[in-house]
């Protein structure tokens, strides 16, 4: 098998793989993380807020999303987003959204459920004394959250948040089911066009491995450093 391993097909397709594929993957990862963390934090605050109805809605959202396979959610939003677009813009027919927009919405909202749980744990880990001290100074609820609780919660949860980002990075490969050209999709296209499945898939696996391993090693080292400081 390895006697006629075609290194050339890999070399030739590198620009396509990385400029087209990996760029998509990384952009999706970055944007979905940013959006997911913001929305997730809001959901966590809704859940812990103490207002009526909201905690129930937040918990419901998180629990439902976390019970569903990502593949199913990808399909859901692929079909749902055009209708939502129609509803929001008042158009007469479902709005056509590009593959990128659809997957961005999907991943942001999907990961938000996971980030919500992480931020919830982070917020709950801040001692009540901190909140009390904030109020005692005369700060409002939003000021306490923004200046006292969230900065600390966020800092405490950075390793876990980063790990979830790495998971997101790997999860983006599932856009394959919509035939979107992310890194894996690009590798797959080359594989099928040139008939070189072995080379391309092994290469894709290797690239994902190196990137994920490097990232999680960095997170591990970060965790070790935080532990010492504490």
């Amino acid at each position: 098998m390895f006697s006629n391993f075609d290194w050339d097909v890999i070399a030739r397709s590198l620009p396509y793989l990385f400029l087209d594929g990996m760029t998509f993957t990384l952009m999706l990862t970055a944007l979905a993380t940013a959006g997911g963390v913001v929305i997730g934090t809001l959901i966590a605050m809704m859940r812990l807020g103490g207002l009526p109805v909201l905690p129930w809605m937040a918990a419901g959202y998180v629990n439902v999303i976390r019970s569903l396979p990502l593949v199913l959610v990808i399909f859901w939003f692929y079909f749902l987003v055009p209708y939502i677009g129609q509803w929001v813009t008042g158009a007469s027919r479902p709005v056509q959204v590009g593959a990128f927009t659809s997957s961005l919405v999907t991943f942001t909202l999907f990961e938000a459920a996971y980030f919500a749980e992480i931020m919830r744990a982070g917020i709950q880990s801040i001692p009540n004394g901190q909140v009390a001290a904030g109020y005692a100074l005369g700060l409002t609820y939003w000021q306490v959250m923004a200046n006292v609780v969230l900065p600390q919660a966020f800092r405490n949860m950075i390793p876990v948040l980063l790990t979830q980002t790495i998971i997101l990075f790997q999860d983006t490969s599932l856009v394959y089911v919509l035939s979107i050209t992310d890194f894996l999709g690009a590798a797959s296209k080359v594989a099928q066009r040139d008939g070189r499945l072995v080379e391309m898939y092994l290469f894709a696996a290797a690239v994902y491995f190196v990137m994920s391993f490097a990232a999680s090693s960095l997170v591990r080292r970060l965790q070790a450093r935080i532990a010492i400081v504490r």
Binding site: M1, S67, P69, F75, Q170, V177, L184, S212, S216
Partner: protein
């Protein structure tokens, strides 16, 4: 909204000839559950072994365990599926490869093996954490009695570790069930695949996916409830988790 709702679609026959659309989905559910169960058993066995390896004093065992876990954790599940399904038949001797490609039910077996290995790495981490949380004292007490390392794991460490691990293991089992959906890319006709097929045949997108969603939720509830029963039945009186 310019969508035509038709909730009675479930009772209409599907073009595949297996009965109603509802039937089609339920057959998909069966594939989901069977795949999940078989791969889970494999994951438990392998994962426990590797997890134990990571807690042994031997440096070689720890390094192997670490490499094993990192290998399966850093490659996306979908890529692993492709490796097993497309690449494996090409790298083994030609006869074996032909056998693999022509085997009926290849998607099923591939999915089981792939998920088995993938989830075993996660189980291994849970086992390592579970044994680690027991502290050195228990291991020392067992050793001091004269138990061999194997006996210490079997009679002292693992019984308690598994009780401690039941909640996170439940999560992993649920993850495993969800992950079976990834196998639709290699042709496994599990629940999500069937919902997609239903959508393609009938154009009733939201009915199809709502049904699949409700079924997954129901599976979740059942599993969590069963696990709670299990947890309660093996609980050790008086033991508070963690020292």
């Amino acid at each position: 909204m310019s969508y035509n709702w038709n909730w009675s679609i479930f009772f209409e026959p599907s073009p595949e000839g297996v009965g109603t659309y509802l039937n089609m989905l339920l057959i998909g559910l069966r594939w989901t559950l069977v795949t999940a169960l078989f791969s889970w058993i494999m994951a438990l066995v392998l994962g426990s072994l590797v997890g134990v390896l990571r807690t042994l004093p031997s440096k070689r065992a720890q390094r192997f365990g670490f490499a094993y876990v990192e290998l399966f954790r850093n490659i996306p599940l979908l890529v692993q599926m492709f490796l097993w399904f497309f690449v494996l038949p090409e790298v083994v001797p030609r006869q074996v490869g032909l056998l693999l490609k022509q085997m009926p039910g290849a998607p099923f077996y591939t999915a089981v093996v792939c998920l088995g290995f993938y989830t075993s790495a996660r189980v291994a981490e849970q086992v390592r954490a579970g044994v680690g949380s027991l502290g050195r004292g228990q291991r020392m007490a067992g050793t001091a009695l004269g138990l061999t390392t194997g006996q210490v794991y079997r009679y002292v460490l693992l019984p308690m570790a598994f009780r401690i691990m039941l909640p996170p293991l439940t999560s992993e089992f649920l993850n495993n069930i969800k992950n079976t959906s990834v196998a639709l890319t290699i042709g496994l006709l599990e629940l999500t695949a069937r919902a997609r097929a239903m959508q393609e045949f009938s154009f009733q997108v939201f009915e199809a996916f709502t049904a699949a969603t409700l079924i997954y939720l129901a599976v979740n509830v059942v599993v969590v409830t069963l696990m709670r029963v299990l947890e309660r039945s093996v609980r050790v009186p008086g033991f508070i988790m963690g020292k």
